[in-house]
Amino acid sequence: MTTTVATPQEGTDSPYALSHLDALESEAVHIFREVAGEFERPVILFSGGKDSIVMLHLALKAFAPAPVPFSLLHVDTGHNFPEVIEYRDRTVEKHQLRLHVASVQDYIDRGVLKERPDGTRNPLQTLPLTEKIQAERFDAVFGGGRRDEEKARAKERVFSLRDEFSQWDPRRQRPELWNLYNGRHAPGEHVRVFPLSNWTELDVWQYIAREGIELPQIYFAHEREVFKRSGMWLTAGEWGGPKDGETVEKRLVRYRTVGDMSCTGAVDSDAVSLEQVITEIAASRLTERGATRADDKLSEAAMEDRKREGYF
């Protein structure tokens, strides 16, 4: 990067210029309020991961001092980090929210879904999610997806129309002009809404630090029993690891994303504070998904294909 400093032009530091975090916060709040104003049954997808935690925080601010006018929906893979489930339940209790759970384990127990040979349950989330949306007649579903995460997501709209099968068709997307979001949909269709579309991983962390938001402890460095599979450190546990030939060791690690234990990898880290995490991410040469998600490596268009089927 160039170190040359150009002479600042007049007006750059206008007192009316919002900082980038204020601008992103204001835009996200606008999106929450548009949905509250135009939809009958919105729901926030809440996994206990940092993006959904930031979404909930923004929703709380958007409607203060009134309560958040949405319920929460968690797609439970059955292979969750216990710390995250504990955080989820505590948060629901604290803000007196209503939590819906769509359970992958239920579908497997009933024989509707089959465990995959590679053990990952992420692709299995789509059916429980879409059936829950239909059963509860949710017409707007907030997701914490960010366009910086993945190249198929870079093309995603803030208001993303899904048909009655929850499918995403990139060729049939509505252009989004100014801040005039179009939420019209036919009965049976719904809209996926992404208030964090324009945020990056670093924005999310800086916002968490600025707002003093509490996170599950797995985001910070801690000693954990892990083993290596496909180049990633996975947490050992009852979900099915390690297998023969995989050896468990104790390492100082943290997580950059929270997902199913079978496909979310930990990174070596000694960052125990928000400040240290931000420094680590700012210097990282790997994207969040590249570092820690096995399912995105399945094929070049893995995310696009799952989105088409109804995944986020």
Binding site: A64, R171, N182
Partner: protein, 444 residues
């Protein structure tokens, strides 16, 4: 960046900008170079591109694969839609609306430019200003993007000659100023060789201006609010009705233009009722003054009827309400827009029924001439439209306010977004529309 503190990082501002360029002007290379040289492409992304390039039999990594995300795009080697990219320097955060340049994708450039504060128009130094350059300048003028950058690319292929650059910059600036583009910055670059993109060029001593990235980092992003009409579209009424807040009734919205102050007298449109601002909450914190684009909740002294769709304005600066809107539009849907079409019109937070009364003209982007009474507008057409709404709306001229002067038309049957509209006079049209005798023979 490891020495930068959290506080310094979060104090940066945000610049939204859009790119436009013809197929072979090197737009992908410029975007790739910008992301690469500003160290915004991370190792695993680059690795994925290298892997994909290799499996296609290419020997060098194809940076266009960084930006063409969809299966169909990779298969066809084209860009089919607007994509948004994110990068940062210690001074500023950037959101780039990366739009394809073909003329049939005019709607995508309009979409990208609608939220942009800066548009980059790329030209090939060997070809200079061409028809496509004029189209892009016209759209930037139409959308009233505050800053335009002319990036004269491929300077390496014209021996980095100052005279080549100067002639192109002069021709473009004269043309764009005539259209009403407020500010133009011309920068000679080579995206392929990296000259003046992120790092200053060693080949163009005659150029004393900023590099492309330096310009992006320093261009002013906020406007002088003293000339703006203050506008707050009401999104949602916040009424906790709790023991703690039994009487709280706040009008939530994002300030579309200007600023509001506690104690100011305001009018609610379209009803015309007046009151005084008794408090402003900025996401839970009381403040005395708030400005565009903050999301706020406004409290009024009097218990008057205010609901979603209303517009709060200063009493001394209220726009007239009207049911007859004339606007310049860009048609974005595949099905045509015709006279007599019954539509929905979304303006601010209000959606009303409307009917297309007339389509007086259609703009030919190649020479900016106006065709009278085209009968219909098809995808990517830009034209003038007269719309009658079922209820009066407080609209501003787009020239005064990009937010309260814009609207979209929606198909009531399936919810398709049909048309992007900009209220009021268009940019300097070179010739007035000549009223010609009705000619049913127009064939579009």
């Amino acid at each position: 960046m490891s020495t930068t503190t959290t506080e310094e990082l979060s104090a940066t501002t945000l610049l939204r900008f859009a790119t436009a360029g013809s197929v072979d002007d090197g737009k992908s290379t410029l975007v790739g170079r910008l992301l690469h040289d500003s160290k915004s492409v991370l190792a695993d992304q680059l690795e994925a591109v290298e892997r994909a390039s290799l499996s296609r039999g290419q020997d060098a990594p194809d940076l266009a694969l960084l930006t063409d995300g969809l299966r169909a795009e990779r298969e066809q080697g084209i860009t089919i839609d607007v994509a948004y990219r994110y990068f940062a320097t210690p001074r500023r955060r950037f959101i780039l609306a990366d739009t394809p340049g073909h003329v049939q994708y005019t709607r995508n450039m309009v979409t990208g430019a609608s939220t942009a504060e800066l548009t980059v128009i790329l030209v090939d130094a060997r070809n200079g200003v061409v028809e496509q350059t004029r189209r892009h300048a016209a759209i930037a003028a139409l959308l009233r993007v505050p800053h335009v950058v002319l990036a004269v690319n491929k300077m390496d292929l014209v021996d980095y000659q100052e005279s080549v650059f100067a002639a192109i910059a002069e021709e473009f600036t004269a043309y764009a100023l005539e259209l009403g583009v407020p500010e133009i910055t011309a920068i000679p670059i080579s995206a392929l060789a990296g000259d003046n993109v992120v790092d200053p060029s060693a080949h163009m001593d005659w150029y004393g201006g900023p590099t492309f990235l330096e310009h992006l980092e320093t261009v002013p992003v906020s406007h002088d609010l003293s000339h703006c009409h203050a506008r707050l579209p009401v999104q949602y009424v916040i009424r906790p009705q709790s023991a703690e807040h039994p009487d709280y009734r706040g009008y939530a919205g994002q300030i579309a233009a200007g600023s509001f102050r506690v104690g100011e007298s305001v009018t609610v449109l379209p009803s015309g009722r007046t009151s005084t601002i008794s408090g402003i909450d900025l996401l839970g914190e009381p403040v005395d003054v708030a400005w565009t684009t903050q999301s706020v909740t406004v409290l009024l002294q009097d218990d008057i009827d205010v609901s979603r769709g209303d517009l709060i304005v200063p009493t001394k600066d209220a726009p007239p309400t009207t049911q007859d809107i004339e606007a310049t539009v860009c048609h974005v849907a595949d099905a045509p827009l015709t006279v007599g079409h019954r539509v929905l019109l979304k303006h601010g937070t209000r959606t009303v029924k409307a009917i297309v009364k007339d389509i007086p003209s259609r703009l030919t982007l190649s020479d900016l001439s106006l065709h009278p009474h085209p009968g219909q507008l098809v995808a990517n057409d830009i034209g003038r439209v007269k719309v009658r709404t079922a209820e009066p709306l407080p609209v501003d001229s787009y020239a005064d306010s990009r937010r309260t002067g814009s609207f979209i038309l929606i198909d009531p049957s399936d919810g398709t977004t049909l048309t992007a509209g900009m209220v009021g006079e268009s940019f300097a049209a070179p010739e007035p529309v000549k009223e010609e005798p009705e000619d049913d023979g127009w064939d579009f």
